[in-house]
């Protein structure tokens, strides 16, 4: 079992609901301070978005964040160097599109991520069917390959995806790209479909923008992912203290 999954299973066994905020790497000069603030605010793992020019799964907020980050010169190497300089003490999960890893070289990319403390990767445009090469490369490092399931996922695919995903299973609450829909939508049905075939920790994302939505989803899921709402805050000029307060609000709601 990959170390990410061991950590997240232990977390679940302790009765705590996982809070996983998403940050766009390099979106501001002080982005790692925001990450550290989220750790203080009560996050359990951090998703690190790596900016791509053509984010097909992302709505306007994360698109804008990616554009800003790219304009500031963010690359896999630059963000890995910044992360290596930190010791955040909790799991880091990369999220980006396949072309960046493909272009960097799959083995080299997995090695670079792993060396900078990242232990999982979400590649939303990499289908199960196309993932053999990436998964075998990740098996040579300690990178967990995380798959998404969606409201449109069919029963046979739920079974295969839940059996293949490592660390956790990412349940999209909505048939939407990030930041376009609010509320947990179909998430309970999606989570149940995963549960029917696997005991992998299952987190709800895409549609979780407020503490009350997070609390709702945590009644049936093992954790939540908060993306666009947080990225929007940071794009709007939030300080790391604002980020900590924002995360603490979710923490409180999840712990109640």
């Amino acid at each position: 079992m990959k170390s990410l999954e061991a950590t997240l299973r232990t977390l679940r066994d302790s009765g705590r609901k996982a809070l996983v905020p998403y940050f766009m790497a390099g979106v501001t000069e002080d982005w790692t301070h925001h990450v550290a603030a989220a750790v203080h605010g009560g996050a359990d793992a951090i998703e690190i978005g790596i900016p791509f020019s053509d984010p097909m799964m992302d709505g306007a907020v994360i698109q804008l964040a990616a554009e800003r980050s790219l304009a500031l010169g963010t690359t896999i190497d630059s963000l890995c160097a910044q992360l290596s300089a930190q010791d955040l003490g909790l799991p880091l999960i990369a999220m980006t599109y396949y072309n960046l890893f493909h272009h960097y070289g799959l083995l080299r990319a997995a090695g670079r991520l792993s060396a900078s403390g990242i232990s999982g990767a979400i590649v939303p445009d990499l289908t199960l069917e196309e993932s053999d090469e990436w998964r075998s490369v990740c098996d040579q490092t300690d990178i967990a390959t995380i798959f998404l399931v969606a409201p449109s996922t069919t029963p046979d695919r739920f079974a295969r995806l839940a059996a293949t995903t490592q660390g956790f299973c990412y349940a999209s609450a909505r048939m939407a790209v990030t930041g376009r829909a609010s509320g947990d939508g179909d998430a309970s049905r999606v989570v149940e479909a995963v549960r029917a075939t696997s005991d992998i920790p299952t987190y709800v994302g895409i549609g979780i923008s407020s503490p009350s939505q997070a609390a709702r989803a945590s009644r049936y899921a093992d954790g939540v992912i908060v993306g666009s709402a947080l990225v929007d805050l940071i794009l709007g000029g939030a300080t790391p203290d604002d980020t900590e307060r924002f995360i603490a609000g979710f923490r409180t709601a999840l712990d109640e």
């Binding site: 020019s53 306007a60 790219l70 072309n99 272009h103 196309e130």
Partner: protein, 394 residues
């Protein structure tokens, strides 16, 4: 024993042409891609579907389009040049072939709505046209920059009852329109088909669109035989995503004809690109040293695309077809030359193929060769733009 390889057949079950193609989409779209593949395979094997597709293209689309011998142009080049006249098809380009197929398929799948991306507006107009004919509702995504370059086409789509959405993200051109259409499709896959406009995207699109366009090549093959020309020495077509080229190549892929695809020099994915993954496919892409997709630059909105369909990437890698780039200046020149020598105003896209023939006659194209040129569209949509460019120079 050596067997001649056969080209332009069905891709592998995972949608690969050699190393290219495949399916790189969010899980949310996978069921729709699988459903589409099943529906297409079923329909394309059903004689009643194929008959309907052909008869609509005949009665509504104006097919077969003629092959015209370009007499004065041929004399100028020292070649025998025949043009396949897709410019005479309904809506002014080859795009009608694909959309007639896909809208009939939409209806067959029980969906009531189509969405599409468009660059020059030709695919958008064609989609709006075919949708109107079947009473499907239609939304077209178009880069904001292109809505300005091709404002008349925006109005045409609206006249046809479609909604046009100007896409303001990224480079505000074709690649961003594709991103936006994909994002939209996620929200409405249940009742909506994504009518992709070229031989690109996730499996089965590159294959399906090529099949719907192959009518160009099959017609041209028969027409050249009928007039005693037989198999031409060379087949030349412009390439954006590559649908008109794939369509005409399909008639000649397993003959002795040389196949040449002409890309815009500022978007020459085969010449200047490297393998990568974008818009659901693995193909050749123009990208930075870090794997960020670069913006293409072309005078023609329809060729402003940093990638190329995966089957073309394969045809290039295998050496079966050759891909070249042509710059804006030569295109403008060629558009005027063809207009004045033949009384045919080509689309700026098609003028890339014309320009390459003019440039290479007696060089890469031996004098006296027979050349089949795919005139993918007419230039009506471009005359205002060309007028402005030429007037600014005076």
């Amino acid at each position: 024993m050596n067997q001649t390889p056969s080209y332009m057949g069905a891709p592998s079950t995972s949608g690969r042409f050699g190393d290219f193609g495949g399916r790189f989409v969010p899980e949310a779209l996978m069921p729709a891609c699988l459903e589409l593949e099943t529906a297409f395979v079923d329909a394309w094997a059903d004689p009643s579907f194929v008959d309907e597709y052909r008869s609509v293209l005949h009665e509504f689309g104006g097919r077969p389009t003629p092959v015209t011998y370009l007499e004065r142009f041929s004399r100028r080049c020292g070649l025998e040049v025949f043009a396949k006249r897709e410019d005479l098809a309904h809506t002014g380009s080859h795009k009608i072939n694909n959309v007639v197929g896909q809208t009939l398929l939409t209806q067959r799948m029980g969906k009531s709505r189509v969405i599409a991306e468009t660059g020059a507006g030709q695919h958008g107009v064609a989609t709006a046209t075919a949708a109107a004919r079947l009473g499907l509702s239609c939304t077209v995504y178009m880069g904001e920059l292109d809505t300005q370059r091709q404002s008349l086409n925006v109005f045409r789509m609206e006249l046809l009852g479609a909604t046009v959405v100007a896409v303001t993200s990224g480079s505000r051109t074709l690649k961003d329109a594709v991103n936006e259409a994909m994002r939209e499709w996620v929200t409405c896959v249940d009742d909506t088909h994504y009518c992709l406009g070229s031989v690109m995207g996730p499996h089965p699109f590159p294959w399906m669109v090529r099949e719907f366009q192959s009518i160009i090549g099959h017609e041209a093959y028969a027409q050249l035989h009928e007039r005693g020309v037989g198999v031409p020495d060379m087949v030349v077509a412009c390439v954006g995503g590559g649908s008109n080229a794939a369509g005409i190549f399909a008639g000649f892929a397993n003959t002795t004809s040389r196949l040449v695809g002409v890309e815009a020099a500022g978007g020459a994915a085969v010449t200047n690109g490297s393998p990568g993954v974008l818009h659901g496919m693995k193909s050749m892409l123009i990208q930075s040293e870090h794997g960020q997709i670069e913006e293409a630059h072309s005078i023609s909105a329809g060729l402003d695309y940093p990638g190329i369909g995966p089957e073309h990437a394969y045809l290039a890698a295998s050496g079966r077809a050759q891909y070249v780039g042509i710059g804006d200046e030569d295109v403008l020149e060629a558009l005027q030359t063809l207009s004045q020598l033949e009384g045919i105003i080509p689309a700026l896209e098609s003028a890339h193929a014309v320009a390459w023939i003019l440039q290479e006659a007696g060089r890469d194209i031996p004098l006296g060769s027979s050349v089949l040129l795919n005139l993918s569209g007419r230039g009506d949509k471009d005359v205002a733009q060309v007028r402005d460019i030429l007037r600014d120079r005076q």
